[in-house]
Subunit: 581 residues, 2 copies
């Protein structure tokens, strides 16, 4: 490609609404253009990156035996009612009506459409397993779209769906996809982790997220320094406490703590470590009657160590809370504790409730909690003596750095990531809802065992930039750079030697299959270099009259701090060597 | 590709709603699957065809200097209001609201979005010309979607838009695209014609349709047997009549024609050729007041030869009718003619109106027309004697086969076509409406001169099938076949020799870059051959035990009536020779 034939459009300033660096740099580098909130045109420079991402995804999906199709963007509501999602999904599902007032949705994913294909096409176990995928436009009507392609409304996703005759087959299909995802992510040239993720109501451990590591990532991801264990924060298990509970050493005392309504304030006032305090969290579950009105409400008290945070996903798995919980209201709290939030505790309740204790709290001695009396806390609290031994003990908390790894090997560390891929075992959730079955070897209809597998194709470039940039701009990995090599001739219009050297290197690299762009726009060197550093092309060759007089040109990788002089006759081989390496 | 790893799904019967052969065959060959009216999943077999079409289009567009981008499917109404299309377009434009009740459309084309890009990006004449294109999902909410991909609602279109500094530049850009379209259509391997099309309000001759020739096509296309002249029916000019008007030979007579209200019936009754009759068509134009109510209505009488049909596009260009016309109502006709339709004519009108005469009618003598009296016609009518010489004479009719070509060379012939591409000079229609301008060399802002260029990517396979099929199924041209070659081993599971010969031919063709599929499903020969003939793979190699004993395999092109025996050792070279040829 010659730059004069392409659309290069860089900006000095990012628009004011670009809050994160990937959004700023994609706008400044002319990769995307905003059409509406969360809706972007992929400009020629950005589309080249997206196409390279797509090509890698497609190659590895095909290699893994998945078969590409393309499902419609606009899908009929009837189909979405079969799974219940038309009614249950929130306003993220973009709904519309056609000229005949029939209901449709703009696909955010395609479980319904693909299950509809399967129930028509896969009549016999002999046709299984099958994996169908598409790389296609999706829409999620985010309440607050932002961060450019990171949280857009219209985006491109690769979504794959596997169909198997039984759970064992589905698990094999899942592992094939998990391996394909590793192959895909290895090829992108990014630092990433595959982490265990919560599998929601489906259960089991067959859910992994592929997280691109970036300090600016939205997700906390957890890994062991001593093993391959890795999970997202929702999923990461807190290892069971190491030792038994120490013996009680202090007497129970009601201590004035005026105005100190947080564990941190109380610990500071009392001169105790935060880890000696216990926080009380009050939840509620509502039982509904047939008409959907609240028939009965149960209040729950959760006890966590003062320095720990509640993990709502874990809480949501505790029997009784797994129907769906909410935080209790202040009137509910007053009714059960007789005091407003800030001084709550498990001793001296006004009204019985259910208590769930985090595993760490269950092994504490001489701890501190609210006294259910404004401006007072208990100190020296001990299980069995001052209150009954805990009844329900569970892992309720987010892990913290330094926790023992749940597999017993090493300690946990935490870093930030951007979720780009997800592999998920679905079981028969959709096939049962949509009555999608095949005839098994025994002649009986069985619902398909399914899995779903997504990659955020347009999100990936944003994540790559969050991970790879500096103050001058983007630094693309070779595999997904809009161009791999840029040739910058200095004074091409004035010097026949420069022009000829640049054109001949361009022709030689093109012939070798290198994705090279020749900047023949005639820009001044400073503006030209600034453009390519902003755009982030990884390899640059600069050809100038002065160097050529000595038979030299310059090579500089985008991460290099200085250029390397290379004999003009060797530059093509030199560049090819850098690409191979 | 091995068939066992792919999704092959053929049907004996097409669904009842498939009215045309391409729809029937695409359904039966498992290329598409209906999700809703006019909305189809592109199944793996069909997607391979679409991807080949896309690749050819993309290569030639890039070669012609166009630059690919991707504009959003969901676009904000504000932008569409700038051009006026949000308000003016009919219900084909699919409108929707997001969660904040803001208006959006699903793009049917992208003039507004691309003009918005141009006004932000192309600030200077130095950046022009530019041509931006996309290959992207479109939606048109057809009232009656049908014929599968031929008239779907969701479809893939390649749409390109050129931006130039002046009309001369725009015309060059138009010609570059017209040439690129010829290159694209040549590569598809289809029989097609580029025909002049009407350019509507823009004027000029810069509008051409690319029509795939097919007896089942919706469009009539006209070409000269003696020159390169070609146009669609709307546009095709009827050559001016050859000779002068003959002298009057008959006297005017009012002749009873009871119950004969059509020209054909009258001609038959009178024993005259249909070409001696004249038909009267009554049109109306309404002048609106400021409130949009009809302030004044003008009635028009159009006279055409009885064997000719009105061309509404031509009529719509006659001064006075160019504001938009409708057919007159029966009350309006009674008011002006004093008789109901069937016996109308230009002689003895009740109330004055404007008369427009087709060029052929203006040179007739001794003609027949309605007498404005039920069950009576005039015969022996002559201009100047029985009624005034015609005032307004125009080309109002559709051409018919055998007409002289308007360029004076040869005669016109008519065939049917399916419109797949359109190149169109837009002028400043969108750039003026959207205030999209650049700074020209003289420092003054000028609106962009634009062109737009479309190809129906998903419609093309349907058109290819309409043109290329037989009673057994589809016959793909090599360039867009889902697979170019199929290897059909007979008894692969029983014979090691067959298996080995098939696998080795498969490997050799794959290595040569041939898009080959090996049918390793283990189907019986009859079913296997029927599948591939239905799917339409152009080249087939059959390998069987019996032939192999004599060192022979069989080659058959999809159009061949019988197989050719080829020595097994030469088959790879033989196939490659057929592909090259």
């Amino acid at each position: 490609m010659k730059a004069s034939q392409f659309l290069i459009s860089t900006l000095r300033q990012a628009p004011a609404d670009a809050e994160v660096v990937s959004h700023q740099l994609m706008m400044r580098a002319g990769m995307i253009k905003r059409l509406a909130a969360g809706i972007y045109t992929y400009m020629p420079m950005g589309l080249r990156v997206i196409r390279k991402v797509e090509a890698i995804v497609r190659e590895e999906m095909n290699r893994a035996g998945a078969i590409e199709c393309t499902m419609p963007v606009i899908q009929p509501a009837e189909l979405w009612s079969e799974s219940g999602r038309f009614e249950k999904m929130g306003p993220e599902l973009l709904r519309l009506k056609d000229r005949h007032e029939r209901d449709y949705v703009v696909q955010p994913t395609s479980e319904e459409a693909v299950t509809d294909i399967a129930r028509q096409e896969f009549k016999s176990y002999k046709q299984l397993p099958k994996n169908l995928y598409q790389i296609q436009t999706k829409f999620r009507d985010e309440r607050r779209p932002r961060f450019g392609l990171m949280r857009g409304r219209e985006f491109i996703m690769k979504d794959a769906y596997s169909f198997d005759r039984d759970e064992a087959g589905a698990k094999r299909s899942y592992q094939v996809m998990a391996a394909a995802y590793r192959a895909i992510f290895d090829r992108f040239g990014l630092s990433y982790r595959a982490v265990a993720a919560d599998s929601g109501a489906i259960g089991g451990d067959l859910s992994e997220e592929f997280q691109v590591i970036a300090a600016t990532g939205e997700d906390a991801i957890v890994y062991s320094t001593g093993s391959a264990y890795a999970a997202n924060m929702e999923k990461a298990e807190a290892a069971a406490p190491a030792g038994p509970r120490p013996a009680a050493g202090e007497a129970l005392a009601k201590t004035p703590t005026p105005g100190k309504s947080t564990c941190a304030d109380v610990a500071e006032l009392l001169g105790l470590p935060l880890a000696r305090t216990v926080k009380s969290l009050v939840l509620a579950t509502d039982e509904l009657d047939a008409a959907g009105a609240v028939a009965r409400t149960q209040i729950w008290l959760l006890l966590l160590r003062g320095d720990h945070d509640l993990n709502e996903v874990k809480a949501g798995k505790v029997p009784g809370l797994d129907v769906g919980f909410r935080f209790a209201t202040v009137p509910e709290i007053l009714e059960h504790f007789g005091t407003p939030p800030g001084y709550l505790g498990p001793i001296g309740l006004k009204k019985p409730l259910k208590i769930i204790v985090d595993r760490e709290v269950a092994v504490m001695a001489d701890w501190v909690c609210g006294a259910n009396d404004k401006d007072f806390h208990f100190t020296g609290v001990n299980w069995g003596r001052d209150l009954p031994e805990p009844d329900v003990v569970a892992d309720l908390r987010n892990v913290v750095a330094g926790d023992a790894s749940p597999d017993g090997q090493g300690q946990l560390a935490i870093e930030r990531g951007i979720e780009i891929g997800h592999v998920f075992y679905l079981g028969t959730k959709y096939s049962r809802a949509m009555n999608a079955s095949f005839l098994d070897e025994d002649g009986k209809p069985k619902p398909f065992e399914m899995g779903c597998y997504g990659i955020g194709v347009t999100r990936l470039p944003a994540a790559a930039i969050e991970q790879n940039h500096d103050e001058r701009g983007i630094i693309w990995p070779d595999a997904i750079a809009p161009f791999t090599v840029v040739i910058c001739p200095v004074g091409m219009d004035r010097s026949e030697a420069v022009k000829s050297a640049a054109e001949s290197l361009y022709a030689e690299l093109l012939a070798a299959g290198v994705d090279v762009i020749l900047d023949d726009r005639g820009e001044r060197p400073g503006a030209m270099f600034a453009d390519w550093e902003l755009i982030g092309v990884p390899h640059r060759v600069t050809i100038g009259d002065k160097g050529l007089k000595d038979g030299q040109v310059e090579y500089q990788h985008r991460r290099d701090t200085a250029a390397t002089r290379v004999p003009a006759g060797e530059i093509a081989a030199f560049v090819k060597g850098r690409l191979a390496g």
